[in-house]
Amino acid sequence: MSATVSGFWPRLFALLLLSMTAAANLARADLSVEVIGGGSNRYPVAIVPLQGESLLPEAITATVKSDLAMTGAFSLLEAGAGDALAAPAQLNAAAWQQRGARAVVYGKLVSLGGGRVRLTFWVDTVSPREQKLSAEFDLAPEQLRDMAHRMADMVYEALLGEKSLFSSRIAYITQSGKEYRLQIADMDGRRAQTVLRSRQPIMSPAWSPDGTRLAYVSFEQQKPVIYVQDLVSGQRRVLANFRGSNSAPVWSPDGRRLAVVLTTSGNSQVYLINADGGGVQRFSYSDAIDTEPAFSPDGRQIVFVSDRSGSPQLYVQALDGGRNARRVTFEGNYNVSPTFSPDGRQIAYVRREGGRFKVMLLDLASGDNRLISNSAFDESPSFAPNGKMVLYASEEGGRSVLYAAATAYPGRVRLGTLGGQVQDPAWGPFNP
C-alpha cells in the first residue's frame, strides 16, 4: 500500500481565482454528523491539532477528523494542542507508536496577512517511520472548509491508497410545511444551498456526471415533469413533459443522455432521451410497471424495477442487446430503487420484508445479498463516488433523516436535520 502512495505530492501552481457571480441563496439548515459503530479493523491515526490553528475563524482539524471518522475506516487517537508539531523533525514516532498510532497527521498555519494563511502539513507512518505526504497551501478565509475536506482526502488517499470521497456533494429534498426545497450540501451535510424552492413536491434529483447540473422531477405544473437545471447559473429547462407522467431521470455516464420513465404507452416504461430533450427512444417493453432505471458505470446496461413477474423485482438489460431483461433479484416480493456501485460489481437497492424497508447490497458475481441499513423505513440508496459508502434516507420517530453506511465496514453515520423532512438523497460525483 505504502509504495503506491509514497510519491503523492501535491503539485504547486499559481493561484487561480474563480469569481463567483451567481447570487447564492444560502439556507442555514446544515446537517450534523453523528458516527455510529465502526469496523474492528480501523486504521489508528492521530490527527494532531495544527500549530497556530487559533489563527483561524474555523478550525480545519475538526473537519478533517469528522470526515475521516465518518467513513468507519479510521480510529482517531486522542491528540491535544500540546501535541502540535511544526516540523517533521519534531515528530517522536516511537512515542506515537506507544500511544497506538500507525500514522500521525500534523502541521502548522502561518499568517500571510490580510486574513490569508499558509497551511503546511505532513502525514507520517510511525513504524516504520516514513513520510507519506507533505503539502503546502495558501488560503483565503472562505477556502478553509474546502481545504479541510481536501486535506482529509489527501490523508485518506495517502494512508489507504484508494480514491477518497470528502470533496463531493449530496443533493436531497426537504419538506417543511408546504414548502419543498431541492438542496445540495457538502457530503457531510454542511453548507447547504437551495437549488429550487417550490410549493409543489420535488423528487428524484440526479447529478450530471460532471456535477454541474441536476435533473429532477417537479410537480409545479400539476403533474410530474422532468427538468434539468444548471447549478451555478440557476438556468433550467424542461427535459421531458410528455402526456402522462415524466419521472425517474438518471444520467448516462458520458452525460450525453438520460434514462427516464414516461407513460405515453399507457403504462410506466423506461425511455432514453438526449440531454437536450431530443431523440426519445423506448428502452423497456412490458405491459407492467418498469421504473427506477440506473446505468451501469460503463454505460452499457441499465438496471430497473419491473413488476412484470407480479411483484417488483430488479432486472438488468443491455443497451444494445435487444429487449431481453435479466432478472437479478429472487428473494422477497418487493425489491426496488436499484443503483450500480461505481465499479459495477454491486447493486444497492431497497427490499421490503415484514413491513420493513431495508437497504441491501447485491453482489452481481455471486448473487449474494447483504443488509447494510438497520432501520424500518430506509429508502433511496446512492453510492459515494468512490463506492465506499451508501447514502440513504431513513425515518426516526416520524421524522426523516439521512444516513451514510460504509460498504466495507459496519460503520454508519447519521446526517441529522434541524427541522422538516429530508428525503431522496443523491450522492454527487467528485467535485471538479
Binding site: T194, Q200, P201, E220, L231, I289, T291
Partner: protein, 187 residues
C-alpha cells in the same frame, strides 16, 4: 448553462494539477491553493394551488345530477371532492366507486371538457415505484371513462404517487384515504 463548461475546464485543470506526482515543496515556491466549491443559484417557483371542496351529492346520484345541472360551472361544482378509492396494491375500479367515474364521464360527455386524472398512493415504499402505482390507478380510471364514451384525447392520466397525501400519518384510515384518484378540471 453557458458558464458551466468554462468552470468545469478550469476546475478540472486544478484537480489535474493537484493530483500529479511532483517534487516536494521548495522553500521559495509559490504555495498551492485549494479550490472553492462554486455557490449555486436558487430558483423559486412557489405559487398557490386551488383547494378541494367537499362533495354535496352522493356518488350514486352524481351522474344524474351532472346531467340535470343548469350549466357547466354548477355541474363541475358537483364533482368537487369526489375521488375514486382503491384497495391496497390494487388499481381496479371497484363497483362501489363506479358512481364517481360515471359522474365525471357524464360531465366530460356533456361539456367535452378536458380532465387530468391524478393517481395517488399511500405513503409506504419507494417514491418512484409509488409514482408508477399511482399512474396505474389513473390509467385504470381513464379506461373506465373511455368505456363510458369519453374520448381518449379528453383525458390525461398522471400520478402524484405518495407525494401529495391528503391524510397524514401511518394509520390504516390515512393509507386508505391516500389510495385514490382525483379529477382536476381546467379552471
Amino acid at each position: 448553462m453557458k458558464k458551466s463548461p468554462f468552470i468545469a475546464v478550469i476546475a478540472a485543470a486544478l484537480l489535474a494539477a493537484c493530483a500529479s506526482n511532483q517534487a516536494p515543496v521548495a522553500g521559495n515556491a509559490p504555495a498551492a491553493t485549494a479550490p472553492s466549491a462554486p455557490s449555486v443559484a436558487t430558483v423559486d417557483v412557489t405559487g398557490s394551488e386551488p383547494a378541494l371542496q367537499g362533495g354535496r351529492v352522493s356518488a350514486a346520484q352524481l351522474a344524474a345530477a351532472v346531467k340535470a345541472a343548469p350549466d357547466q360551472r354548477s355541474a363541475q361544482a358537483l364533482l368537487n371532492g369526489h375521488s375514486v378509492y382503491f384497495d391496497f396494491d390494487q388499481s381496479v375500479v371497484k363497483d362501489d366507486q363506479r358512481g364517481v367515474v360515471e359522474g365525471n364521464a357524464a360531465f366530460l360527455n356533456r361539456f367535452s371538457s378536458k380532465v387530468l386524472v391524478q393517481g395517488n398512493t399511500d405513503a409506504r415504499g419507494s417514491r418512484e415505484y409509488n409514482l408508477a402505482l399511482g399512474q396505474r390507478r389513473a390509467e385504470s380510471v381513464k379506461q373506465s371513462l373511455e368505456v363510458l364514451g369519453v374520448k381518449p384525447a379528453q383525458i390525461e392520466a398522471v400520478s402524484f404517487g405518495k407525494e401529495k397525501p391528503r391524510a397524514e400519518g401511518d394509520s390504516e384510515a390515512a393509507h386508505a384515504e391516500n389510495r385514490r384518484a382525483d379529477f382536476a378540471y381546467p379552471q
